[in-house]
């Protein structure tokens, strides 16, 4: 415990080695390895049932792994009970204690640590100020809005300077505006406290916005771990390319030495890997081009299927000659809108060689 307190400010590194959890025949965690730096904000991103929450609960100590190692700093915590791990947890439904006031909720972990009264008062004030809820101490939980409850849950989870902060989809119950606001707030709070934070979400945009690094998880394995930009710009597999951001994937011709699509060579900046099998087309990376466009472009001929006005952008869907549908985003300034072709007209879609991504089915 004492070592936790010293390192609390700097953030404790977490080491996960060959962590396995099975339910019957189902491998919820399939021999996971992960190193999280002290003070890092890492997001576990994956579809439901991918194992992201199972991993979080294993780190919290509520799920006992079958085998493997879990370390906070140099301490092996694999078999340590949750209440001895010095972790703060924020759940999706906040799980505030309704029979206590806001201040009593926040004071709860301090009381368990036998802090004296003046120290408790001081820390509670500090934590409530941190989440901008000064003066809410005497309120009952029932009097708070969803966003305020979220803040109390956060204050309660950080008031005792935990070594690790764990959050399980904490914003999913909030509406979009508030959610986006809280993403920035949590980010700011993390920067201020420097506590090692593991955040679980299925919302890829949230993950991109908040994280230092994202670990994409699927079927109990990591599909890819990296910084948001790296994941978006250089997905390691078809799954990651499709899960993060919007993308249409076109299959390359099989059995060719150089990548080709329907017989035409696909121009890329870097030589693709041997097992590369899909071109990734993201709506904001492609645009309508004239037939005479220069050699730097990969072009796809098709028919304009639909035009959907979405406010900040226009989404066009183009059906290729082979039947696949591509989506592309256009700005909504007057000039761009005026230049849009009519529906059902033949169009040419261009993807610049510098933006051309080619991914394998499975990561190497």
């Amino acid at each position: 415990m004492t070592s936790d307190k010293q390192t609390g400010k700097a953030g404790v590194p977490i080491t996960i080695r060959q962590l396995v959890k099975t339910y019957g025949n189902y491998r919820a965690l399939d021999a996971l390895d992960l190193d999280i730096a002290g003070g890092e904000f890492l997001t576990l991103l994956g579809p439901s049932g991918s194992g992201k929450s199972t991993l979080l609960m294993a780190i919290a100590g509520f799920i006992r792994p079958d085998s493997g190692l879990l370390q906070f700093g140099a301490t092996d915590v694999t078999r340590l009970e949750p209440h001895r791990r010095n972790i703060g947890v924020v759940f999706q439904n906040y799980a505030l204690f309704p029979h206590m006031t806001v201040a009593q909720n926040v004071a709860y972990p301090l009381k368990l640590r036998n802090a004296d009264k003046s120290r408790i008062d001081e820390r509670v004030q500090w934590a409530l100020a941190l989440v901008k809820l000064e003066g809410f101490g005497d309120r009952s939980i029932h009097q708070l809005s969803g966003g305020q409850r979220q803040r109390v849950a956060l204050a309660r989870a950080v008031v005792f300077e935990p070594s690790v902060l764990l959050m399980d989809e904490p914003l999913s119950a909030l509406d979009k505006k508030l959610r986006e606001h809280m993403q920035i707030e949590i980010r700011r709070l993390h920067e201020k406290l420097g506590v090692t934070t593991i955040y679980v979400t299925h919302d890829q945009r949230e993950a991109l916005t908040m994280s230092d690094r994202i670990a994409v998880i699927n079927h109990g394995r990591f599909a890819q771990i990296g910084a948001p930009k790296a994941l978006y710009e250089k997905p390691a597999s078809r799954f990651v390319a499709e899960f993060i951001g919007d993308a249409t994937l076109l299959p390359l011709d099989a059995g060719q030495k150089q990548p080709t699509f329907r017989g035409r060579a696909v121009k890329t900046k870097e030589t693709p890997q041997d097992n590369a099998s899909y071109i990734v087309l993201r709506p904001e990376k492609i645009r309508l081009v004239g037939k005479e466009e220069d050699a730097g472009w990969n072009c796809f001929a098709g028919t304009l299927d639909d035009i959907v006005y979405q406010g900040e952008s226009v989404l066009l869907s183009v059906r290729l000659e082979g039947g696949e549908t591509l989506f592309l985003r256009q700005p909504t300034d007057q000039q761009s809108l005026a230049a849009l072709p009519q529906r059902n007209q033949p169009v040419e879609v261009g993807l610049h060689a510098n933006d051309t991504l080619i991914v394998p089915e499975e990561a190497a």
């Binding site: 100590g61 209440h83 759940f91 989870a157």
Partner: protein, 272 residues
């Protein structure tokens, strides 16, 4: 309910028949209970209604009879001890069954509810033969154990209902914040299921206090409970003493129910 009360389309006058009907039902339910109260104040040797004059004679004779007061003390002791045995056991069982992931939990729940379904006489016979071997017949311990068996299903059912409204994530959070399992249960779970626990305890008390069949088998002579003594003395003579005891019992039960109701209301006010 609130909406129906304030519904302006049906006047109270047109609903009069409904009120009268409800009154009739209430009288039907309560009259047999309430009729013993005036009878208990009769000075006569026999039960009579209405009493010719008023007297506390039978109350006096009750309180002066060591047999009756002794039986009352046995009953109270048994009821209190049954509460102390059945309530914690029932809470533990309800909690375990609620959060167990094992398939057998459902079976165990049914097994624990059985005393509620089986005719009490069967439980009584079984208990009698078992206690005869264990030398527990006519002991307070035996009586409390048997009553706890009968009270346990009530406690489990009532506390389970309370736990269903409780969010177990709260306990997980408490544990992450530094509370051991026991501490988390005591500081977070228990305060929130308190109303259920109170009514469960009340049920346990009344189960034991009202019980007569098992008592007929396993509590005899000086360890007779009040209800058992009432039952046996009714066979010999029907005196207003019985009415006096009944009145006391009705009053006790009524006050207990009132206390439970008040505590539940207090909890609600705290929440809103």
């Amino acid at each position: 309910m609130m909406d129906m009360d304030s519904d302006p389309t049906v006047s109270h006058l047109r609903r009069l028949w409904l009120y009268l009907y409800c009154l009739a039902v209430a009288i039907f339910l309560l009259a047999p209970i309430l009729v013993v109260i005036p009878m208990s104040f009769s000075p006569s040797e026999f039960l009579e209604f209405p009493p010719s004059s008023l007297s506390l004679r039978w109350y006096q004779s009750l309180f002066n009879s060591p047999e009756w007061t002794g039986a009352a003390i046995i009953s109270l002791k048994a009821a209190v001890l049954t509460v102390l045995v059945a309530t914690p056991l029932g809470i533990a069982a309800a909690y375990g069954l609620q959060y167990s992931e094992m398939g057998i939990a459902k079976l165990v729940r049914s097994a624990l509810i059985i005393p509620l379904i089986v005719p009490v006489i069967i439980v009584a016979i079984g208990v009698f033969y078992l206690f005869a071997r264990l030398n527990l017949v006519n002991t307070l311990t035996g009586l409390v154990l048997a009553h706890s068996v009968l009270a346990l299903p009530f406690v489990i059912v009532v506390v389970s209902a309370g736990l269903q409204r409780f969010d177990i994530n709260q306990e997980l959070v408490a544990r992450s914040l530094g509370a051991s399992r026991v501490k988390a249960f005591m500081t977070v779970t228990l305060p929130q299921i308190r109303p259920s626990v109170m009514s469960a305890a009340l049920f346990a008390f009344i189960t034991s206090f009202d019980e007569v069949v098992v008592a007929l088998f396993v509590s005899r002579g000086p360890s007779s409970t009040l209800t058992r003594k009432m039952f046996t003395s009714l066979r010999d003579q029907v005196s207003p003493a019985i009415a006096a005891i009944s009145t006391i019992l009705i009053l006790t039960t009524f006050l207990l129910a009132l206390a439970a109701l008040a505590s539940a209301r207090g909890d609600k006010q705290q929440k809103s």
